[in-house]
Symmetry: none
DNA sequence: CGGAGCCTTCGGCGCGCATCGAAGCATTGG
DNA sequence: CCAATGCTTCGATGCGCGCCGAAGGCTCCG
């Protein structure tokens, strides 16, 4: 009985602004040091330390010592998924400023979600994969079909290696901007890596932005049939997420 | 732009044990009164009231006045989705025991709601009554038409007696399985009684379950045109907690 | 109408915890 | 060895808010 308290613990962890800022910063997928997270959250190192151990004790974060640094990262993809879902909720319930910030549109277009692609492009991609029968979308479960495997291998993915990993191959992740499922899991991560390797896109350092080159966008659209709309540039710069404001 | 604080607000709402209990209680889908939720959360009515307005202000709950009760329900499927995702997280991080409620499907199909029928069967029945012009459904108000009166009398209902009662003849009542209105009021209660009398169905003692006999289900479907799908059995007893009562 | 049930608002109490200053370990580098 | 950096622990402070008792508003019922 009493499942309430359990989810309350998760909620309470996310419920503090400082911790929420840390978590959203870590949504970018890369591990950050305690100091960076403190700055990100706008609190002192002591306070951040307290928050971080709390988050780790709660199972949301993993920690790795390296030299005199302590690197923190989300403990898993599911954490990222829940956070994204909560962002979506916050957006829908309208208690968030709908005021679109300067770099919002680009984020909405293509960004990294933990280790895979998110945003309109990602949603469109999955949509296309499903339409062509490469992926089957049941309730909450995604499966790669045999023809889908062929397709992925043609893209240059090493499927056997992916299948060998303990990690689930396909997973759905709710996208907060589009409010639709996009592809996560080992396959989602591998695809994003492939896009980088092909020179189609690259990370904007310090942000969650994924910016596609014109050539990459063209290739992406040709293969995945995602609607055009050029997002083109990203102003970059900026701090690390959370803030921005005009 | 502060996306952090937004998810922090959601988190904080879920983060309080009392509120978390309310939310998980509502996760079953059915709307509950403020009092029931107070009991569910183990707090007094005043405290619950405060929590509920907070949850409503936060956009997680919707509220509907019905008589001297105030029914609260999750504001949408996405809220339920986020809550379940959080429960999943809590389960994974090992800070909880998972409890799966395997008694739900039958309840979803047909159950008693106070004194009338609820569940898919009930929603389908009202749908049919409206489609055939026996009942007119305005916003929040249901009216029995003359042809509807004839129909009810053909079923063996004593309409004059029902009309004589102080109790409103027709009333709408929220149902969670289809998130639609089903028929309550004196007519709804009389219909359920009639089903019992006809031997179509009977209560499972100690639960809210209403189990139809095969013959009764057939007759019901013939008359009200509700989609087939045999509900077959009802498992075990279950606790019954939350709700019910008279 | 008056009484009862359901719920909300108001006021005050008290705990929890986020926060920061200062000090204590650890690691790196000279 | 000492100094510097990165992070943690300790202690104290203050605010937020969860909680309930009491009182008021609605609604239903006889």
């Amino acid at each position: 009985m009493k499942v309430g308290p359990d989810i309350a613990m998760i909620g309470a962890l996310v419920g503090d602004p400082a911790r929420a800022n840390m978590l959203t910063a870590l949504l970018a997928g890369q591990a950050l040091t305690a100091g960076e997270l403190a700055r990100e959250a706008g609190v002192t190192a002591q306070t951040a330390s307290s928050h971080l151990s709390r988050l780790e004790a709660g199972g949301l974060l993993t920690q790795r010592k390296q030299g005199r640094h302590r690197y923190y990262a989300l403990s898993g993809e599911d954490v990222a998924g829940v956070l994204e879902a909560m962002m979506g909720l916050a957006a829908r319930t309208g208690h968030t400023r709908v005021r679109t910030g300067p770099k919002e549109p680009a984020l909405r277009r293509a960004r990294v979600c933990y280790d895979h692609l998110a945003g309109e492009l990602a949603v469109g991609m999955l949509e296309h994969l499903v339409a062509r029968g490469f992926v089957i979308e049941a309730t909450d479960a995604l499966t790669l079909t045999p023809t889908g495997e062929t397709f992925m291998q043609a893209l240059g993915l090493d499927l056997p290696a992916l299948a060998a990993a303990r990690r689930p191959l396909c997973k759905g992740c709710l996208d907060w901007s589009v409010r639709r499922t996009h592809l996560a899991g080992a396959l989602g991560a591998a695809l994003l890596d492939r896009f980088y390797a092909l020179g189609w896109a690259r990370r904007e350092p310090g942000t969650r932005l994924v910016s596609f080159t014109p050539r990459g966008l063209g290739a992406f659209r040709e293969i995945f049939g995602v609607a055009p709309q050029n997002d083109a540039e990203t102003d970059s710069g900026g701090d690390g997420e959370t803030e921005a404001t005009a």
